[in-house]
Amino acid sequence: MVDEILRPSPRHKPVSLFVTCIVDMVYPGTGVSVVEILEHLDIEVRFPMGQTCCGQPAFNSGFHDDARAVAKQFLTAFADAEVIVAPSGSCASMVRHYYPQLFKDDAEWYDRATWAASMTWEFTEYLVDGLGITDIGAKLPPMTVAFHHACHGLRLMGLKNQAQQLVENIDGVTVTELEGYDQCCGFGGLFSVKMPQISGAMLRDKIEHIKACDADMILTGDCSCMTQINGGLSRNQVEKHVTHIADLLARGLKHNDQ
C-alpha cells in the first residue's frame, strides 16, 4: 500500500484530469468547472482520452475480474500521468485504496496500480493539501451553504475540511452546518438499486435534514451522492438542491471576472 505521508508532491506538475464516468456523461459541466479552476491557478490540465470508469461499480458488487479489466483500462489511459485529480472522493479512493489490493497477485500491474495510487488526489485535497491553496480568489453574492460529507471522501480518503476551507474563502459565502452531515445518503452504488427500500429510507433522513437546514445550497464532493440526494429532493418536490463544490468555486471565479 501507498504510504499516505510519503506521496510524491504534486507541485509544479501538469494535472491529468480523471473526470469520472458520471461527470463525463451526466454532469460534464462539473468537469468544465474543474478545468476552469485549475487553469485559473495556472496549472496545465491534460485529459487522457482513453479514460472510462474507475471500475468501482463492479468492485463493490463483488465482480472483481470485471473491475480489474476496467482498472487496467484506467491504468493504461493514465500511464503517462504525473498527477491524477478527480472531482470525486469515491472514485479517487477506488484508485488509491483499492487498486493495489485488486492487483496484489499480479506483480506488473501491482506496480502500476501503486504508482497510480500514490499520485491520485481528490480535487479539494489536491488544492489544499497538495498545493497549499485555500483561497482561489473567488467572489459571490451573499449566500449560506452547508456540506454533506460524502462517505468515501470522509472515511476512505480521510478528507476533513479541505472543501470547507476553499468555500469559506469565497468572498460572500457563509458556511453553516447540515445536521447529520456525516451520515450516508443511502446511495452505495448498486445497493441503491438492489435494496431500494433501505436506500430510500436512508435518503428520507437526509432529505429531512436538508429541509430543516437554513442553507441556500448544499454542497458535496461526489456526483453520485448528488444524484441520489437531488433525485430524492426532486421526487419529493423539495426546492433545495445539492451542488458540486467545484461548480460553486467556478461560479465564484466567473462572478469575479464580471
Binding site: V19, C21, T52, G62, M195, T227, S234
Partner: protein
C-alpha cells in the same frame, strides 16, 4: 417471520414500515451512538487507545491456540473444569451432561450471546431444566418469547409501552408509569429465582490467559448474583474472547463501556478464577468453562480472521444507517448489524446468509465507530466477491456488458451518446426534465428518486471542441 438471513429484504421491508419499531430504533441507536461519540471524544487520544485495543486483540489472535491451552491449564489449576465444544451440539451436550451430573434443575443466567448462538435454552427446556434470564433485556426477550435484536441492548426494538404491557400480562405487574418502577418490579420477581437456583450461567467478555480468569462486564449486578450465589457456575465463552494479560484487559476495559453504552466505566466487572477457595465464604463449589468454537476456527483460518477481534460492543450497529433503518431482527441471525453481516456468513456458510454482505452502502461508519477498528467494509466487499455468482444472471451478464463497454473507450463514448439520445427522446415524450422511470434491472432507482438526463455533450466532446482543437 422465521429467523433466517435469506429473508433479509422481506423482513427489512416490513421493518421499515413498522412505526413503533422505527420509534424504538431511532431512540435506541441515536442515544447510544451519540453518547459513544461524546465519551470517546473526551479521551486525550481516542485513536491511540483504539489502536492499542486493536493490537491487543490482534496479538491475542496471533497466539490463539497457545493462549487457549494456557487458559485451560490455569482454570484447572484454580480448581475448575474446562470443556471444549467444536460446535453448538457439542456445547449443548456438555452443558446437559453437567446438569445431569449435579442433578441441576433450576438455572439463572446472566447475559450471553453465545448461549443464544448455540440455541441452548430450547435444549435445556426439552430436558426439563428451567432457566431464567436475569439480565433485564434478556428477561423481557424471554417473557415475550422473542429474540434479541442487538448484541448489547437485546430489546432495542421494543418501546417502554410494549414492555409495560408485557410485564402486566406475564409477571402480574400493576400499572407503572416510570421505567424505574417497572424495573423494580422485575427485580423483585427475579430475586426469588436467584435464591432458588441450583446453578448459574454466564458468558464471558474476556478470558485472561495468564491467570485463567473469566471476566464479565455488566450494569445490573445480575451477573454477580447468577454466578456467585448458586452452587454451580457454568461459563460458556467463545474461543475468540481470550487475551493474554491483565495489561491488555486494562486497555480494552476502557474501550468496551465507552463504545457499548457510552459509559466511561461500567457498573460491575466480575472476575472468576474458578470455584470458591476454602477460605472464601461465597462463590460456587463447582466451576465449568465451556469453550465454544462453532465455526470460529474456520474464520480463524480464513481472510476474515479480523472479525474475531470483535469485543461485541455493538457500536457498529448503532452507527450503521442500515441497522438504524431495519433493526436487528431483519438480519435473521443472533449477530446483526455490520459485524453480524460478516460473522453470520463467515461462521455458518456464505450461501446461507447471502443477502447480508450486500445490505450495506459501504459508508464506513462501522469501521469508524469500532473500538478495535475492524475493517468491516473491506470484508463485506470480499464476501461479495465470494458471493458474486449468487446475485443472479441479470447482474452477472450486465456486469460483463458494462466491463466490455468500459474496457473500450470508443464503446464507452458510444454508450454515453446512446444513453443521451434515449433519455432525451424519452423526456421529450413525457415533457419532463428528468427521468421518473428506468427500465429493469435499474427500476429500483426510480421507486424512490428521479434520475437526471444524460448530457447532450459529454465531457470528452467538450474537451475535443474546446481544448484539443484549439
Amino acid at each position: 417471520m422465521a429467523m433466517n438471513p435469506k429473508n433479509f429484504v422481506q423482513s427489512a421491508t416490513i421493518a421499515i414500515e413498522d412505526i413503533t419499531l422505527q420509534t424504538a430504533l431511532e431512540r435506541g441507536t441515536s442515544n447510544a451512538d451519540g453518547r459513544r461519540r461524546q465519551v470517546m471524544a473526551e479521551l486525550d487520544d481516542p485513536y491511540a487507545l483504539r489502536m492499542q485495543g486493536r493490537h491487543a486483540k490482534l496479538r491475542a489472535l496471533h497466539d490463539l491456540p497457545d493462549l487457549l491451552e494456557q487458559m485451560e491449564r490455569n482454570v484447572i489449576a484454580n480448581g475448575g473444569h474446562v470443556l471444549w465444544a467444536a460446535d453448538a451440539a457439542e456445547a449443548r451436550q456438555h452443558i446437559l451432561n453437567i446438569c445431569r451430573k449435579h442433578d441441576l434443575k433450576r438455572g439463572v443466567k446472566s447475559k450471553s450471546m453465545v448461549t443464544e448462538e448455540i440455541e441452548l435454552l430450547p435444549a435445556l427446556e426439552a430436558a426439563g431444566i428451567r432457566m431464567v434470564e436475569t439480565d433485564l433485556g434478556e428477561y423481557i426477550v424471554q417473557l415475550a418469547d422473542d429474540h434479541p435484536s442487538h448484541i448489547v441492548m437485546p430489546v432495542m426494538h421494543r418501546t417502554k409501552d410494549e414492555v409495560r404491557e408485557l410485564f402486566m400480562e406475564k409477571i402480574a405487574m400493576p400499572y407503572h408509569e416510570e421505567a424505574s418502577e417497572m424495573t423494580a418490579h422485575a427485580r423483585k420477581t427475579l430475586r426469588e429465582e436467584f435464591l432458588n437456583a441450583d446453578f448459574g450461567m454466564s458468558g464471558g467478555n474476556f478470558m485472561i490467559a495468564e491467570t485463567g480468569t473469566v471476566v464479565i462486564v455488566t450494569n445490573e449486578g445480575n451477573g454477580r448474583l447468577s454466578t456467585g450465589m448458586p452452587p454451580v457456575h457454568i461459563a460458556v465463552v467463545g474461543i475468540e474472547k481470550i487475551i493474554p494479560t491483565w495489561e491488555d484487559f486494562a486497555t480494552l476495559i476502557q474501550l468496551l463501556p465507552r463504545s457499548a453504552t457510552g459509559q466511561r466505566l461500567t457498573v460491575y466487572v466480575n472476575m472468576f478464577n474458578g470455584p470458591a477457595r476454602i477460605d472464601e465464604p461465597d462463590g460456587p463449589q463447582e466451576f465449568y468453562l465451556v469453550l465454544v468454537d462453532n465455526g470460529r476456527s474456520d474464520v480463524y483460518a480464513s481472510e476474515y480472521v479480523e472479525a474475531l477481534a470483535c469485543i461485541r460492543c455493538g457500536a457498529c450497529l448503532n452507527a450503521c444507517p442500515v441497522y438504524q433503518t431495519v433493526g436487528g431482527h431483519s438480519y435473521g441471525s443472533v449477530y446483526s448489524g455490520p459485524i453480524g453481516a460478516i460473522v453470520t456468513p463467515a461462521m455458518w456458510g456464505k450461501e446461507r446468509a447471502s443477502p447480508l454482505p450486500f445490505a450495506s452502502s459501504l459508508c464506513g461508519a462501522c469501521k469508524e465507530a469500532c473500538p478495535v477498528e475492524i475493517n468491516i467494509p473491506d470484508m463485506l466487499i470480499a464476501l461479495r466477491r465470494d458471493l458474486a455468482k449468487t446475485q443472479g444472471p441479470v447482474w452477472e451478464l450486465g456486469m460483463k456488458a458494462w466491463r466490455f463497454g468500459n474496457a473500450h473507450p470508443l464503446l464507452f463514448e458510444m454508450g454515453g451518446k446512446f444513453a443521451s439520445k434515449v433519455t432525451h427522446a424519452y423526456m421529450q415524450s413525457t415533457g419532463a426534465d428528468k427521468l421518473d422511470t428506468l427500465p429493469p434491472p435499474l427500476n429500483g432507482w426510480t421507486e424512490h428518486r428521479d434520475f437526471p438526463p444524460f448530457a447532450e455533450q459529454s465531457f470528452h466532446d467538450w474537451w475535443r471542441q474546446n481544448r484539443e482543437d484549439k
